[in-house]
Amino acid sequence: MFWLRRLLWMIPSLLGISLVTFALIDLAPADRALLELAGVESAASAQARAQALHDMRVRFGQIDPASGVEFSFGERYARWLQHAIRLDFAAASDDPADFTQRITTALPVTLLLAFVAVVAAVVVSVPLGTWLGLGRGRRLQRFVSTLLLLLWSVPEFLLGTLLVLFLAGGLAPALLPGAGLRSPGSETWALPAQMLDLAAHLILPVATLALGPSVWLTRQLRESMARAATSDFVVALRGFGVDERTVRRRIVRNGLVPLATAVGTLLPMLVSGSVVVERIFGLPGLGDLACRAVHAREVPMVMAMTMLVAVVTLIGLVVSDLLHRALDPRVAWGRR
């Protein structure tokens, strides 16, 4: 029942994530209540301000509403967790429905972007990594490896800026759309035309987002292919006189197994990248929302999203772990 154990182990990890998130808010020297009130008009009297501050502290669970005594760290965490479990991060926001709605409209955009980028990265890196791990053209291989290192040094925001400048009409004539998810007025088009429009708008953002992951996956696959090619079962197969094509197929199948875990570990990279990509290409996703929230000093929104992203990443890690285990029985859980 390894998967049950793995799923149960998620509980302490989830608690850990919530503790880190809460500690970040709570231990920050800036007083959240004061920060929140700074946006409100301060025309009121000193007494009204003190009352508002008191109300805000009660709402944040910082002080006891009856006595006005400050809670201890543990109590504050427990109170915050009670809200967080019910996905009620909006304790400080004036309109909880709007708060949730903003996240749920932004989430699909980021998920679409990340999904297409993962697919693109896998499609590029599997053949390339296999060829680099098994191939015999050593000079060409070394050249491609160097090229990969070069490409890996290009940060997303740099690549995105260059693509916007040269392909989306910054400096050269625009070949591809470089802003938004759809052309203006495309709502009235036929469905196939809308899909094509969406695909055209996705090319540049996905290319920007997928570059780093593709290079990283290629390098991982190159290593795992080379490792598979030198393992004992290859010697055994050759000793049995199995033909070279079959041996090669076995090597590739074994070398592909770490792909499952690798895709899981890509998730944090993709989320970080999507922040930048969404800003550059003007896509209304989670990263864009986070940037706006940070600019507006909207702490509850930022923390809710940090926690959301961390939980999604944890789920991704666990799923890829389970997948790896299912694909490769040699991996005993807990002994890696």
Binding site: L134, P155, V235, E244, V276, V294, H295
Partner: protein
């Protein structure tokens, strides 16, 4: 294995130039004289400015005007920095293309791009090296303890904590920290250090898992050497190379996050010049023909990150990887493990 020797040498040169520029930026590019002989004795405005505001010159509004107005061969003189422009010095010629006066041009408020690039190296380097240092201090001891006590409850605990921190994407955590604490180099160092330590822990633990089974550890233990001494004096020196690789990759990653945040306008602070914010500015003014505004920050950032990646990649392959000729000697397709990447 890894990058060729010439590439490694150039990477060292680029990295050391970057370090030198970053560390000496206030003395290399500044509008204050290093040494000034005024009517009332010697003054050192550039050095005083490192700790606070320097005193104004005896006459004239700024030190630079005082310097420009000095007569030749008089009793008063000044020794200016090699590049007498400060990164925040506003001049009337806005968005000037590169010429002899400003070899890399000026930006949209007429500030010298070369001076801003050199000072930007300082900001980037401070964040990158600070973050890696902090990550090293947290990650290596935890990884060593977990690897030495492998498969005990201590190991499990460390692995769980690593998993928790693995779930926070660096840029996102940095964003929330900037929202809460405000953007400053210290904030970025703290956040990136807290995000990056897991890499050190995982690598050190992994290396320790195989090291603890080796004969020299067994021998030391049988001689009655204490566990702390075995870890510090016998095992840790063996993983030095792996730690350096992780450190180089971590520094490159921290640089990317720092400039990415600055690009979004949320970086180390608005008053500090940074490559990321320069690039954002360049993107804004690209269609106005100001190509120098995006080209030079791009080159600087790409060179810095690439040099660190090459240094990390240039690690010699560990000895156990070299004797993998068992399968390759007989087979027709002779596959060799190509390169030694540190993922």
């Amino acid at each position: 294995m890894g990058a060729p020797v010439t590439a490694r040498r150039w990477a060292w040169v680029a990295f050391l130039v970057l370090v030198a520029c970053g560390a000496l930026a206030p003395l290399l590019c500044n509008d204050l004289p290093l040494v000034a002989r005024t009517a009332d004795g010697f003054r050192f405005p550039a050095f005083v400015a490192l700790r606070g505001m320097p005193l104004p010159p005896p006459d004239g509004a700024t030190w630079k005007e005082w310097w420009a107005a000095l007569p030749d061969g008089g009793p008063q003189w000044a020794w200016m920095p090699p590049w007498p422009w400060s990164p925040n010095e506003v001049t009337p010629n806005v968005l000037a293309a590169p010429d002899l006066r400003h070899p890399l041009g000026t930006d949209d408020t007429g500030r010298d791009v070369l001076a801003r690039l050199v000072h930007g190296a300082g900001t980037t380097l401070l964040v990158a090296l600070g973050a890696v240092g902090l990550a090293l201090l947290i990650g290596v001891p935890l990884g060593a303890i977990a690897g030495y006590c492998a498969f005990t409850w201590i190991d499990t605990l460390v692995l769980r904590v690593v998993e928790v921190f693995l779930c926070f994407p660096a840029l996102f955590l940095a964003l929330s920290a900037v929202a809460l604490l405000g953007g400053s180099p210290l904030t970025l160092i703290l956040v990136l250090g807290v995000v990056n330590w897991t890499h050190f822990t995982r690598v050190v633990r992994g290396e320790f898992l195989s090291l603890r089974e080796r004969e020299f550890v067994l021998a030391a233990r049988n001689l009655g050497v204490s566990s702390a001494r075995i870890v510090c004096r016998h095992m840790l020196p063996q993983v030095k190379g792996a730690i350096l690789v992780v450190a180089a990759f971590g520094a490159a990653g921290a640089m990317i996050v720092e400039s990415g945040l600055s690009f979004l306008g949320l970086g180390a602070g608005l008053h500090l010049p940074s490559w990321g914010s320069m690039l954002a500015q360049g993107k804004e003014h690209a269609h106005a023909g100001a190509w120098h505004l995006w080209l030079f920050p791009t080159l600087a950032l790409a060179t810095a990150v690439l040099s660190l990646h090459v240094l990390a990649d240039a690690r010699p392959a560990p000895p156990y990887k070299r004797c993998s000729s068992l399968a390759t000697s007989g087979g027709a397709s002779a596959p060799l493990p190509s390169g030694s990447s540190g993922g």
